[in-house]
């Protein structure tokens, strides 16, 4: 355990330093995505009701965390796979999950500033008060972990790294346009709503909504579904990074 913690600390430093060249740019992009969603989605509607404003603002954290977990993470993994650097990383005496944990931690830290900014801007721009519950911390961590484990699963599981890049583009497109994150699930056709009652995205958005506002959502169900997807992503990631060619 001590050895794993020591390795985690060192890999955290390694990953933090390795992200340094792209850190500033990534943070800027994250902030742009966050603010872009808050302001940009406002243009979709003729009139922004308090209900709409709440959906837009509290949906932004899910979109931000999903773009990190399902786009940035798989793209970086795909790049490393193309360069062959995993052959080196996996040859080090570091448990593979420790490496993944360190990588994921850095990505959460990169995503946080944009996430907080989106909430602040949203609250100010649409003039409504957030009711922040302490449960927002585990909620954000669970959404991040679920997104990233699913991202790692796609990135390590794709037969070719380029396929992972393509898959993530399609997924993020689907999340942004066809998921009940920025609007209520009732606005989707029945068959699409039925799919979203199984997929984790709606429940991720529910988690942020219920921990940031007084909206009435089944919190236990949301934690349960996102937790189940997170566990599935973890098991698949673990199996994939442990496999030998």
């Amino acid at each position: 355990m001590t050895q794993s913690l020591r390795s985690y600390g060192l890999m955290l430093k390694w990953q933090a330093l390795s992200k340094k060249p792209i850190l500033a740019l990534t943070l800027v992009v994250q902030v742009m995505i966050a603010t872009g969603f808050i302001f940009g989605l406002g243009f979709f509607y003729h009139e922004i009701t308090p209900e709409t404003a709440r959906f837009i603002t509290t949906g932004a954290p899910t979109i931000i965390l999903m773009t990190v977990g399902l786009v940035l993470v798989p793209q970086m993994v795909a790049m490393a796979r193309t360069e062959g650097t995993f052959d080196y990383i996996w040859s080090l005496p570091v448990p593979r999950l420790v490496y993944i944990a360190a990588d994921a931690t850095i990505w959460v830290l990169i995503a946080l500033p944009g996430l907080v900014l989106a909430l602040v801007i949203g609250a100010i721009h649409y003039n409504f008060g957030l009711e922040i519950s302490p449960l927002v911390v585990p909620a954000v961590l669970l959404i991040s972990a679920a997104g990233m484990f699913l991202g790692y699963s796609i990135a390590h599981g794709a037969p070719k790294p380029e396929m992972a890049n393509l898959a993530t583009q399609i997924i993020v497109f689907a999340i942004m346009l066809f998921s009940p994150v920025m609007y209520p699930i009732e606005q989707l056709p029945d068959w699409m709503a039925a799919i979203h009652r199984v997929l984790p995205v709606k429940y991720m958005a529910d988690l942020t909504r219920v921990t940031l506002t007084d909206m009435d959502v089944n919190l236990g169900l949301a934690f349960g579904v996102v937790g189940a997807w997170c566990l599935a992503g973890f098991i698949i990631t673990y199996a994939l990074v442990r496999r030998r060619r």
């Binding site: 390694w14 330093l17 080196y88 996996w90 030998r244």
Partner: protein, 331 residues
Amino acid sequence: MRTTESGIQDVVLEIDELCKAYTKGILVNDNISLSLRQGEIFGLLGPNGAGKTTLVNQIIGLVKPDSGRITLDGVDVITKPGYARQACSLQAQTQVPIAGLTTRQAIELVGRVRGGDTRSVRERALQLINQLEMEEWANKAAESFSGGMRRLVAFCMAVVVPGRIVILDEPTNDVDPLRRRLLWQQVRALIGMGSTVLLVTHNVLEAERAVDRLAIINNGRVVGVGTPGSLKENGDENIRFELVLEPRVDAPALPEFIQSTFVTGRRLVNRLAERDIAPAVQWARNLKERSIVEEFSIGPTTLEDVYVKVVGRADAQEMPENEVSHDTIAS
């Protein structure tokens, strides 16, 4: 730790009848058996695609063998790959993840990951940087380095806290001749630190000077094992007879007692028996007088000749001229 049949030296790594095919029916490693003894530099020689890196990847646990055994200090590392990663430090052929790191940071981080304490790792990193004359690059971003300098950083990362076995896969690729000499000194120093070195290369001349024993591998099979000397002594025709032709001259027909080994450009490398030296010299002098041959030389067979003989002519003809420079490594 196990001992050889002779009981003279300890065997650190033993590979038994190892087979691996990525595609069904095409064996990349075909029944490979080798053993590495404590404190030796063991060379694994072979052309590109011979199966050398696949063998290394099986030792380190990245690739799973189809059959056979690999034991390290008596531990089966096919079922316990974690042990291999603790015991082996690797300079892989692939890129090392050094984006965002300076030379010192990269070396020190791996040293810490491999269990070294902060102070001794820092000292060792500085020592390596000084001895490989990399001071100028010590605090610069390693990502921007040329290929040769990146290889040197990767080498330092592999040896900062050396494992029981240090595996070096083509460590001198793109490295300048002067630093190659310094690098080989560091490789030799690893033995004094208690490590055993597995050197993977297709550079025969470097290997001949650096290794204690070697295996030649071709098409996934081991085609020769021994010391450079013992491999060269194999056979009657142990004299190397080299001719350099005048430009734009066709190669002459060889007398029966001279066996062609390989041809690179104007250079014809041949083998003959000691008793045939006099007639060979006479024949070559005659060609020189007729301006067919520019120069010729006679000497003992080199490892390169043996390598070419066992690997085959086609590969030899692809060897670039710089591969046969005699001034690339420290003796």
